[in-house]
């Protein structure tokens, strides 16, 4: 799996859309003729991938939001790497 740099700014992939669905009580990722229902932590990570924040900032923000002082880095990086591979996310240059 490719690693992602700490300064990369992931954004939702082209053709995908992330939104909160009250009917499913979850974030969903929409794409042509399909949908992925995200679990809580995946939704929290994905909604911060706005193409502006870096991986480091996303991680810090999550640690702040969930009052965890440290240690989310690996988990967030692994999820984002997987999401990049699936084209849910992309890093625009």
């Amino acid at each position: 799996m490719n690693t992602i740099s700490a300064t990369a700014k992931p954004a939702i992939g082209r053709g995908f859309r992330l939104q909160w669905e009250p009917a499913q009580n979850a974030h969903v990722l929409l794409y042509p003729e399909g949908m992925i229902k995200l679990n809580g932590s995946a939704g929290e990570i994905m909604k911060r991938c706005d193409g502006v924040r870096t991986l480091t900032e996303i991680t810090q923000d999550l640690e702040r939001a969930f009052a965890v002082t440290t240690g989310l880095g690996d988990e967030v990086a692994a999820f984002i790497a997987m999401a990049l591979q699936n084209k849910w996310l992309e890093v625009r240059s």
Partner: protein
């Protein structure tokens, strides 16, 4: 006591068949053969109400199809309203009527995705393969689709009369810079069922087409993804049609008739509700027609006692009805069905070198 009809989740997938009108006459069309006898099309305002109610009930994926949806001049209005409501919007079109002004307006309105479907493969396919009119139309539309930053998705319906040209079809798709190509074998409903004897390919044709597709995939993996959908007549287990009727999919026909599948209108004994008379909420959760095939109380043997019933839901109700005369029977594609011979016999007939006894019936008004 358990409820006979379990309460389903929301109708996540809404398909709006905006019109049955279409400039084409495809022999494999699944629209009802008596489509010209259906009632008045919903008005723009009625479609907007359908969208609001369906969205409130939890629908999130929206398909706009037909017929040819672009025959209507309010597609832009419908897309804008759907986008505002938070739908992910897929337009399924033959490309006829898609010019630059319209695609620009659709993009601005929030259209998310376009699927360009190929049309009648006997007349137009010849055109297409010889790079004449149809190819030019598709190329023009394909260029527009790419210009407006949509992935270029081409859907080609395969059958006996064109399946030997898969290599040319893929080469043409490549020259149109398609990103995704779906080679979908005909499903036998509506007009296609009428023409089944002429459209069902032989096993050798199918095998060869799959091999050609596989080779093409290997050589073009970076640029194009190709999906090949095998006709279910060649399978031994049925497809999990619509993921079970009334579980995810809601189709609204041009006249407002609400259906659990776009082909379900043919099923006898069910009174499908109309959005002119009832809300989406009550249609989805409370109507007899939508509850009928939920759960497994309706099933007959061998499905009822079969451990696979939770996986394929007994297959396709329309296929069961068309082939056996009873929609509650096991889909005869399943080799456990006592009617499976109806499928194997059709496949066996397709092995004959020529099937020419009947003329093709081109979709038309009647």
């Amino acid at each position: 006591m358990t409820a006979p009809h379990p309460r389903p989740g929301p109708p996540l997938w809404l398909l709006c068949e905006l019109t049955y009108r279409c400039p084409l006459h495809c022999v494999f069309c699944y629209n009802p053969v008596d489509f010209s006898r259906t009632g008045m099309e919903l008005t723009t305002d009625e479609w907007l109400r359908v969208l609001r109610e369906a969205r409130a009930a939890g629908a999130v994926q929206l398909g706009l199809s037909g017929g040819e949806p672009l025959v209507r001049d309010d597609v832009e209005t419908i897309v804008a309203a759907a986008h505002e409501l938070g739908f992910y919007i897929n337009l399924i079109t033959s490309g006829v009527g898609l010019n630059e002004a319209r695609i620009q307006a659709l993009k601005r309105a929030g259209l998310d995705h376009i699927q360009l479907s190929f049309q009648d493969s006997t007349r137009q396919m010849n055109d297409f393969l010889s790079s004449t009119r149809t190819f030019e139309l598709k190329s023009k539309v394909a260029a527009l689709i790419k210009k407006y930053d949509y992935p270029m998705v081409l859907n080609v319906v395969l059958h006996r009369l064109n399946i030997d040209h898969v290599d040319e079809i893929l080469a043409m798709a490549k020259s149109m810079q398609a990103d995704y190509v779906e080679l979908a074998n005909t499903q036998y409903y509506g007009w296609a069922f009428k023409n089944r004897e002429q459209l069902l390919p032989s096993r050798a044709q199918l095998t060869r087409a799959e091999q050609v597709t596989q080779r093409f995939r290997q050589d073009n993996a970076e640029h194009m993804r190709v999906f090949f959908v095998v006709p279910d007549y060649f399978e031994r287990r049925p497809k999990a049609c619509m993921n079970g009727l009334g579980s995810l999919f809601l189709t609204i026909a041009p006249d407002g008739c609400a259906l659990p599948c776009q082909a379900a209108r043919m099923l006898p004994g069910l009174e499908f509700p109309n959005v002119r008379d009832a809300s989406i909420e009550s249609i989805w959760y409370d109507s007899a027609a939508f509850n009928h095939f939920r759960g497994d109380a309706w099933m007959k043997e061998p499905c009822r006692s079969c451990p696979e019933k939770t996986k394929d839901f007994g297959g396709c109700r329309c296929q069961a009805y068309l082939l056996t005369g009873d929609a509650a029977n096991t889909d005869p594609v399943c080799d456990l069905s006592p009617h499976h011979h109806l499928v194997t016999e059709a496949v066996a007939r397709a092995e004959r070198p020529h099937v020419t006894e009947k003329p093709l019936v081109f979709r038309d008004h009647r």
